[in-house]
Symmetry: C2
Subunit: 180 residues, 2 copies
């Protein structure tokens, strides 16, 4: 796969170049105060299904329908996702808190992460969590490398919604439930 | 400002090129099911302060501390933000629901949007909402254009946290409160 886009540094006018970034600890402390939905990002490859939990997902545009997933290049799932070029963003329901912890790393073995939940597929072949509040089946169309992470821009080729609308939110280093 | 980065299309192996994106309506319906924090993005320029409400904000990496903001190029604030090269992400507290609606467009005049709330500044000069759950003062370091929107990669140069930790979540086209 040819995924070579990278961000270009820009020159900021009228801003003191001596001002430096905050330290990582202050940044993480601040980020814990930004509420975010909980998603299980899945993909498929020669080694089978893989996946990880991520809060760093956001909408980019509805024209063309595109979302963004940020992932650490050290992630166990990184190579499979890069090689397949596809992923599914499973935005979990309140019932999936335990499953989300498994995909966040409490379980290392990929087969065990997927065990005990029901999965299907849509267009790309990436695993779709049955009962997810919403699942976005995507192909990756471009990427940008920023420090330790890749920002993956993903075109949505299929979407499925659960009947109920309940959501799991990560905020203040805790899970919270929201429902409509 | 030299902000010329753009995403590069990639070739996806083993995936049917005839499969097309979902329609915008299905995408938006799905996105309403992804919980997101509510942020007021502010900046400053020759025309004065400007700002808009956004849920499309996410963490990219803590090394270097970088977050991402997606904004419509039709936004009233677009030119000021591009010209100044700085912005502040004010992640609002539960008390800021009405203010968030104003910056989402219920009030068009920029001066009126800022009226009735207390503001300060940190490093960049972009307005910082006093009492925001957390504020990330940023300079824009790169961007990617995707369809109607720009994805702005922002380095965090100052951060401030409120005493209490309460958050406003947008989910199912409604506001929800979370607290730690």
């Amino acid at each position: 796969m040819n995924m070579t886009a990278s961000a270009v540094s820009v020159t900021i006018p009228a801003f003191d170049p001596a001002v430096t970034a905050v330290d990582s600890k202050a940044y993480r402390s601040g980020m814990a105060r930004l509420p975010a939905g909980v998603n299980i990002i899945t993909s498929t490859g020669p080694a089978g299904w893989c996946g990880f939990t991520a809060s760093a997902v956001c909408s980019v545009t509805d024209d063309p329908p595109t979302l963004l997933v940020c992932m650490n290049r050290n992630s166990q799932s990184y190579d499979s996702i890069r090689q397949s070029g596809v992923l599914c963003v499973n935005t979990v329901s309140t019932e999936h808190e335990e499953l989300s912890k498994r995909f966040a790393g409490s379980v290392k073995d990929m087969k065990q992460r997927f065990a005990g939940a029901e999965w299907t597929t849509l267009s790309t072949g990436a695993p779709v969590l049955v009962g997810a509040n919403v699942a976005f089946d995507c192909r990756i169309v471009s990427e940008v490398k920023i420090g330790t992470h890749d920002a993956l821009f993903c075109e949505v080729v299929a979407v499925s919604e659960a009947g109920a609308c309940t959501g799991l939110v990560y905020f203040g280093r805790q899970f919270h439930n929201v429902a409509v």
